[in-house]
Amino acid sequence: MFKILIVEDDDALREQLEIGLMASGFEVCYASNGLDAVPAFEKNKPDLILLDLMLPGKNGIEICTEIRRNSGVPIIMLTARTEDTDMIRGLEAGADDYVTKPYKIEVLVSRIKARLRPLQEPQHPIIKIGPIEMDTLSHEVRKGNKKIALTPLEFKLLLTLAQHPNEVFSREMLLEQVWEYTYKADTRLVNVHVQRLRSKIEDDQEDPKLVVTVRGWGYKAGPE
């Protein structure tokens, strides 16, 4: 059973969320303010975090940054539409996905399941892209001798591109294959996470060689 940490300061909403999630078969723990979030994460070791952005004590973006320092645990932000710029900053801070208030429990649960689903067994255990070597069994990524820490989402994103080198993936395709959105979603998710991925694997972020933008279309792996 997956354990989910809810960080939400509104008690009624948190309780209703707990009911919904427990009814969907998840184990739930919570933190009701920003300061308790990281300790609750360390104590409960959840499989996924639902993170409200506006929190007393410490906001969602700070919490996200702090957790990302040594964990790739999936984080889904719970945002209101007015917090658009905050939402982008949350993605940049490492959140994997977001759900806009007011959300339906089915939508939230499907987002959670998408993030918790294990990777499909690839045909080759080792995938190479330029100097990068991806071990699909241990989920280890190396660039030469250096180990690179990617979150599961970033791993999946890079793997999706690397399995079909030089094939162009549109943002919508990536949303479907990596995020598992079955209908139109926010392509900014892709943009932000490609940026984060590049910052970890590229020699020069401004001149990417491994994850290349194809103007007007999307992205592809490898320059050749």
């Binding site: 509104d10 969320l17 919904g20 009814a23 007015t82 208030k101 392509t187 007007g216």
Partner: protein, 519 residues
């Protein structure tokens, strides 16, 4: 063509410039006055010169009478040689008397009488005897007094006015003679011409000076008006801090003071209204936002109840269904309200990226197909082959299209809906044309108003929040594009979205027509 264009340009300039108009009027009026004055002066000087010359000529002619009488004294003897001798002296004698140097003389033996001695009729050298007409001679012969007449003589190839004076004489011995004196008025004519030239030149210079001063004065008078006009224009364009400098206490200063006063109160009102409007927008935004969290809880609860309503008493179950349905509607309303309040607060940051419009339209059509099927509406797409690339915020374009398609399907009365895509050099366009109930002129003008519904009964059962088109309109504006509508009652409506290919292109023309389908 060119001349008429120049004329038109000059006319436009004339109409638009107060200074130029004042200048032209002043110069025209002064010019007329000067011409009248010059004419009067010229005529009166000419008359003066002429009458003085005539007087002088008459005086000299009278004096000539005595000279002639003296010459012919004692020539009444029987021999004619004395008479003839005297006759020979008449012309030189008369040419040399008086002050007028340019005098010609003719001393003619009157015709029609016996001239037994064959007396001569001496004349000055070069006199034009044609001047002395038969008429005039008859007049001279018949009258006692001397007769004057103005004639034209030619002098040095030029025609010059002259005075012809004639009188009759009876010489001793009964010989009747007429004396004709021609005083040419060359000098007077020259004087008059000089005076006229001076008048014309003087008038012209005076006119220039008047024009120059009137320009100075008008400019000086018009300047405060011009300044006020410029300031009004700037004020109207939103430069609310614009004021006029107040100088002195004259009418210009009063104008400036009143203008500033007006600008002050205008600025106060606009600022106050702006603040009020901002507060209202802020309030709407805050309220919408504050409603989010409780709404989410309510929605989650309603969803949970809805999922677990089996086996509950029928009234309870029905209540849950209603609660659940209305929560969804409430949610949609709030989302649209929030979106439009974000536009009002200018808090929109669009994300422009190059997209294929065909692709966006295709995705939209696929997504809406089930809804169209449920209404029995056939979606017909007229889409060009190849990519229609444009720099847009795809989420917003998607939202606009979704909105237009939903409306077309809802109001299309089951008839096919035509979706067209096209592009030109600078712009791309999508149009959605239905063949439904259409709209009247009045309804057309309100189509993009908030909470306005094409359905006159404002029936709420057909979904939508009433904000859809208002948001779409703002979305189009955000792209520097246009969302337009044409409709006719009973024939349907055509909504056309035109977008610049890049978001820095302005001044675009739509590659698609904006018209309903004619049956």
């Amino acid at each position: 063509m060119i001349i008429s264009r120049i004329t038109k340009a000059a006319l436009d300039r004339f109409r638009s410039s107060l200074t130029l108009r004042a200048l032209v009027y002043t110069v025209a009026l002064s010019g007329t006055a000067l011409i009248i004055l010059g004419g009067v002066l010229s005529v009166s000087i000419g008359n003066g010169l002429f009458s003085r010359k005539t007087e002088q000529a008459v005086i000299e002619s009278n004096r000539a009478k005595f000279t002639v009488s003296r010459l012919f004294e004692g020539t009444s003897g029987p021999g004619s040689w004395k008479l003839e001798q005297a006759l020979q002296e008449v012309v030189p004698e008369l040419e040399s008397i008086g002050v007028s140097q340019t005098r010609q003389v003719a001393f003619l033996h009157s015709d029609g009488q016996s001239n037994p001695k064959n007396l001569s009729s001496p004349t000055s050298v070069g006199i034009d005897l044609g001047l002395i007409t038969e008429d005039f001679r008859n007049l001279v012969i018949s009258e006692e007094e001397l007769q004057t007449r103005t004639v034209q003589i030619s002098r040095a190839g030029e025609s010059t006015p002259a005075i012809l004076i004639g009188q009759k004489f009876t010489l001793p011995g009964g010989h009747r003679y007429e004396l004709y004196l021609v005083y040419d008025m060359y000098n007077e004519q020259q004087t008059l011409m000089f005076v006229q030239r001076t008048l014309v030149l003087g008038g012209f210079v005076t006119l220039m000076i008047i024009g120059f001063f009137s320009f100075l004065v008008t400019s000086w008078l018009v300047r405060p008006v011009q300044e006020a006009a410029d300031a009004s224009e700037l004020l109207a364009n939103g430069d609310l801090d614009r004021r006029l400098a107040v100088r002195g206490t004259d009418v210009a200063a009063v104008l400036a003071t009143s203008f500033n006063h007006m600008a002050d109160s205008l600025q106060e009102k606009i600022t106050a209204m702006g603040e009020l409007s901002k507060m209202q927008q802020r309030f709407v935004s805050d309220v919408s936002h504050e409603l989010r969290t409780p709404l989410t809880t309510m929605k989650l609860a309603a969803d949970y109840l809805n999922d677990n309503k089996e086996g509950l008493p029928p009234f309870t179950e029905r209540s849950i269904v209603n609660l659940h349905g209305q929560m969804d509607r409430f949610d949609m309303l709030l989302a649209d309200l929030l979106e439009i309040s974000r536009y009002d607060a200018e808090g929109i940051e669009p994300m422009f990226e190059v997209h294929d419009l065909n692709g966006i339209v295709g995705v939209c059509l696929t997504a809406i197909q089930p809804f169209a099927d449920s209404k029995g509406v056939y979606l017909e797409a007229d889409i060009p082959s190849g990519a229609v690339q444009c720099e847009v915020d795809s989420r917003r374009i998607d939202r606009i299209l979704n909105n237009l398609l939903t409306n077309a399907i809802e109001h299309g009365e089951g008839k096919p809906v035509l979706i067209r895509v096209a592009q030109n050099e600078r712009a791309v366009a999508v149009s959605v044309t239905d063949q439904g109930i259409g709209m009247s002129q009045e309804e057309l003008s309100q189509a993009f108003d908030r909470f306005w519904r094409a359905d006159p009964s404002r029936k709420r059962t057909t979904g939508g929040t009433g904000l859809g088109l208002a948001i779409s309109y703002e979305d189009a504006q955000l792209h520097l594009g246009k969302l337009e509508v044409a409709a006719e009652p009973g024939l349907g409506a055509c909504f056309r979205l035109t977008l610049p290919k890049r978001h820095d292109i302005t001044d675009i023309e739509s590659p698609l027509p904006l018209a309903v389908l004619k049956p």
